[in-house]
């Protein structure tokens, strides 16, 4: 059972990611999707698109946003998996094509959190004891055990933030185009120890669109086809109640990556993958993901961060467009935005942040407590 080489990406589009005070979700969906239409040479979407898959965490209306915004009345499926939603939308679209149900599908991830009047994710009271419920608090739980075992600290996290801020300056549609220093990161106000403000992703509005088609039809589209080598998803037990968890990793990433490498036929990801977009909702998430994705051994991140392995120009550049940290994190859009960036990298269209001769690109989302992860691997011949 594999999706390898059955589906190709033939068009991508992305709205500006920012605090879009003057744009609605509909506005951004139209920006992203019409850019993807143009990229794919689609002039008559009602004839050329067979179905829509979409995902959003903050939308009150769900699917209706997308069909109404585009005036594209097609079979429409709404997908939800916390911060992995964007990748899950594309995965669902790919599976529908591989199943032979549709030829060409539009996948849209979007979110508009900046109409709520508050910064950061919502903090809701549900059950009496479900507290405190903040993503920073959940993802921070890996820090103390990891720091103690491997001797890493806030400085190592800070270098990740500095890298992603730098990369964001090179991406036209990123939110934060501002270089920062390690001292900036260390001196920022604390959000949830060890995370300061600069250890946290920038929550923004945004939309990203990906058009996928049957691999054997891809040559009908104008751009160089980008093949889906693998796209996988995996759940793990809630780390809060998992009796065996060591808080040195997030198991969902290990599981989803293992499945993705098997599907894509990869046995040496560190040397075979040329560029990666890794879920950096918080700097610590990116740090453990280097290891959970099998790029490097568990505990080796500190040395690789120091030597620049994951910087532009390094052995395996990560978050070339600035990542969630700097490009922005409209939750439902993020996974789709990563696939947009990987497609640009594989086609050689990434401008000043281009990774030379990129042939294989990985993207990764993780969300929940965290409990769910999705991984994609795209490639060009």
């Amino acid at each position: 059972m594999s999706l390898k080489d059955k589906v190709a990406v033939v068009g991508v589009g992305c709205s500006q990611f920012m605090e879009n005070w003057t744009s609605s979700a509909d506005d951004m969906i139209v920006d992203a999707v019409f850019e993807a239409y143009a990229d794919a040479g689609i002039e008559d979407p009602n004839r050329q698109i067979d179905a829509i898959y979409c995902g959003s965490l903050y939308s009150a209306m769900g699917p209706v946003d997308v069909s109404e915004a585009l005036k594209l009345y097609k079979p429409l499926t709404s997908v939800y998996n916390y911060c992995a939603t964007g990748t899950e939308v594309v995965r669902a679209a790919c599976m529908a094509i591989a199943a032979g149900v549709y030829d060409t599908v539009l996948a849209v991830g979007y979110d508009k959190p900046k109409d709520r009047g508050v910064s950061g994710p919502p903090v809701a009271f549900r059950g009496v004891r479900d507290l405190p419920a903040t993503p920073a608090g959940w993802f921070a739980l890996a820090a103390a055990p990891y720091f103690e075992k491997f001797g890493a600290g806030r400085e190592d996290l800070a270098r990740i933030a500095v890298k992603n801020h730098h990369n964001g300056t090179l991406a036209p549609k990123s939110f934060l185009k501002k270089e920062i220093t390690i001292e900036d990161v260390l001196n920022a106000r604390v959000i949830s120890w060890p995370f300061g403000l600069y250890d946290c992703a920038a929550q923004t509005d945004g939309a990203a669109a990906v058009i996928v088609t049957r691999a054997d039809l891809a040559s009908d589209f104008p751009k160089q086809p980008v093949l889906v080598k693998a796209i996988t998803s995996h759940c793990s037990p809630n780390p809060h109640t998992d009796p065996d968890h060591d808080f040195l990793r997030w198991k969902a990433t290990e599981y989803a990556a293992r499945d993705a490498y098997r599907m894509a036929g990869i046995d040496d990801p560190f040397n075979q993958i040329d560029v990666a977009q890794v879920h950096d909702c918080f700097t610590m998430t990116e740090l453990v993901s280097y290891e959970d994705l099998g790029f490097i051994e568990k505990g080796a991140a500190k040395d690789h961060i120091a030597s620049g392995t994951f910087e532009l120009g390094g052995h395996l550049p990560v978050n070339t467009d600035g990542g969630l940290k700097s490009f922005g994190h409209p939750t439902g859009a993020t996974g789709a935005r990563m696939i947009v960036e990987n497609v640009l990298q594989l086609r050689g269209e990434a401008g000043p942040r281009q990774v030379k001769d990129a042939k294989l690109a990985l993207s990764h989302n993780i969300g929940g407590y965290p409990t769910g992860c999705a991984v994609s691997i795209l490639g060009v011949e």
Binding site: F125, V128, P132, A133, T134, A136, G137, A140, P145, I191
Partner: protein, 468 residues
């Protein structure tokens, strides 16, 4: 009235709010070792303090023979909804036990002790649990803000293994508007202090004390008096002809005046050091006064009161106190809505109130309760198990400043229960600096938030006490 039966106090437990607010800090200055008061912190109230006192009182004692539960306080969150039933559920007491709240008066605790003793002496209850708790939150700038204290004390009343037998009791009821709180009032109102002192405290206390039988030649009598301050105490002592060595030392400079819990707190302190051949007389005023006379039957050599006084966290800034007690205006008041789903609370009440999880037939402990075992995958093969009295150890943590709290940052972590499951919960009572992985923890029942403008209770993990 003298009492013939052999009922009395079997055991007792004391909880004094661990946060101590120095008078100097309250005045906006630095702490410098002067007088201070106990102040219930943001996650405490009379219910949580009563639970803590009761857990200490009932430690290693059976709970299935407690037939009556009384919660006495003037500070309880609900006008309609019982505290004793809530606390009974927390303590896992039999559902067939009679439960009652007694409130509305500073002598509520004394009256609760009388009623419980009557029920046990008459044979209608084998044992009774009486919990008396109060939070004396004074209006900002008031004398009560400085002199009040927050504490709870619990007594197990029975006829076997009695440490102090109730030998006489007396009541003097009086109508007086001296101190009062109307429905919805946050702070206590009072008339002129000399009027309160003479007619609210001195005269009824003296009247009721006079009804107690005089001490036998061979007995020495110790007095636990509910005087709200030193001057009032001295005045009543003179009236009754009590010498200073016959008074339980009043903790005005360490704990404060604890309202309905004050005289019972002194009673517990007296019991700690009681000697055979001693009597302890407790007098509590409020809408008149009530008096109880105990004869010591067994020396326990307990440290319930002294340990509770010693378990202390100093409040170092006035701002922290004001935030914890929500004394300052906020941008938005907490939403007045339905709050946490009552049906979710009802389904999960054993988990929330008793820290009850379960153990699978394969041996795997779990919290919260699940249908399917995370270890063996079997369905519905569980036996319920309470974990609140187990020790815990810290697996990981964060200090969350983003989570809205009156006392940020909120310490949260995963706690490994000894021989039990892992539980994701808040950690309280930390000293300055980060906690350490593996640190020993215990569990305490706390008010974790006020969604729906009502108290929502769950357990927190606290550092293990250094003293027992």
């Amino acid at each position: 009235m003298t009492i013939g039966a052999d009922a009395g106090i079997v055991d007792w437990g004391v909880y004094i709010a661990t946060h101590r607010l120095p008078t100097s800090v309250l005045a906006g200055r630095k702490a410098k070792g002067g007088p201070e008061r106990a102040i219930a912190w943001a996650d405490e109230d009379s219910v949580t303090m009563a639970v803590d006192a009761a857990r200490r009182c009932l430690k290693d004692r059976p709970r299935d023979n407690i037939d009556l539960v009384i919660f006495a306080t003037t500070t309880y969150a609900f006008d309609e909804k019982q505290g004793a039933a809530l606390i009974s559920a927390v303590l896992g007491l039999p559902k067939s036990s009679r439960t009652a709240d007694i409130g509305h008066s500073l002598r509520a605790g004394a009256d609760a002790l009388m009623l419980a003793n009557d029920a046990v002496a008459s044979g209608n209850a084998r044992n009774a649990l009486v919990m008396i708790a109060d939070c004396r939150l004074g209006a900002p700038g008031s004398e009560l803000e400085r002199s009040g204290g927050d504490a709870a004390v619990a007594f197990l009343i029975g006829r076997e293994d009695v440490a102090a037998r109730l030998t006489a009791q007396a009541v003097h009821s009086e109508e007086i508007v001296d101190v009062w709180r109307r429905n919805g009032d946050r702070f206590t109102h009072g008339w002129e202090d000399r009027f309160i002192s003479q007619y609210g405290f001195q005269e009824p206390s003296a009247a009721v004390a006079a009804k107690l039988p005089s001490a036998a030649e061979s007995m020495s009598r110790t007095w636990a008096l509910s005087a709200p301050n030193r001057r009032a105490l001295g005045g009543l002592a003179r009236t009754l002809g009590i010498t200073p060595d016959q008074l339980i030392t009043n903790p005005y400079d360490t704990v404060g005046y604890c309202g309905a819990a004050h005289a019972p707190l002194l009673l517990a302190a007296a019991l700690d050091n009681a000697r055979i051949g001693h009597e302890i007389a407790m007098v509590a005023h409020g809408d008149g006064a009530s008096a109880l006379l105990y004869t010591v039957a067994e020396e326990r050599g307990s440290r319930a009161f002294a340990d509770a006084v010693a378990d202390r966290i100093e409040v170092t800034s006035q701002a922290a106190y004001r935030r914890a007690r929500r004394l300052d205006p906020v941008e938005y008041e907490p939403a007045d809505d339905q709050g946490i789903s009552a049906t979710i609370h009802f389904r999960e009440r054993a988990e929330d109130l008793r820290l009850q999880g379960q153990r699978c037939q394969c041996g795997e402990p779990q919290f919260p309760k699940q249908r399917v075992c995370i270890r063996c995958g079997a369905r519905d093969c569980f036996i319920a198990e309470d974990f609140a009295d187990q020790a815990g150890a810290l697996v990981t943590y964060t200090l969350d400043a983003f989570f809205p709290s009156p006392t940020p940052p909120t310490a949260v972590g995963v706690v490994q229960v000894e021989n039990g499951p892992r539980i994701y919960m808040q950690i309280a009572g930390l000293a300055k600096g980060n906690p350490t992985l593996g640190m020993k923890l215990r569990f305490a029942f706390r008010r974790i938030h006020d969604a729906g403008r009502r108290p929502n209770y769950f357990w927190k993990a606290l550092p293990e006490r250094s003293r027992s």
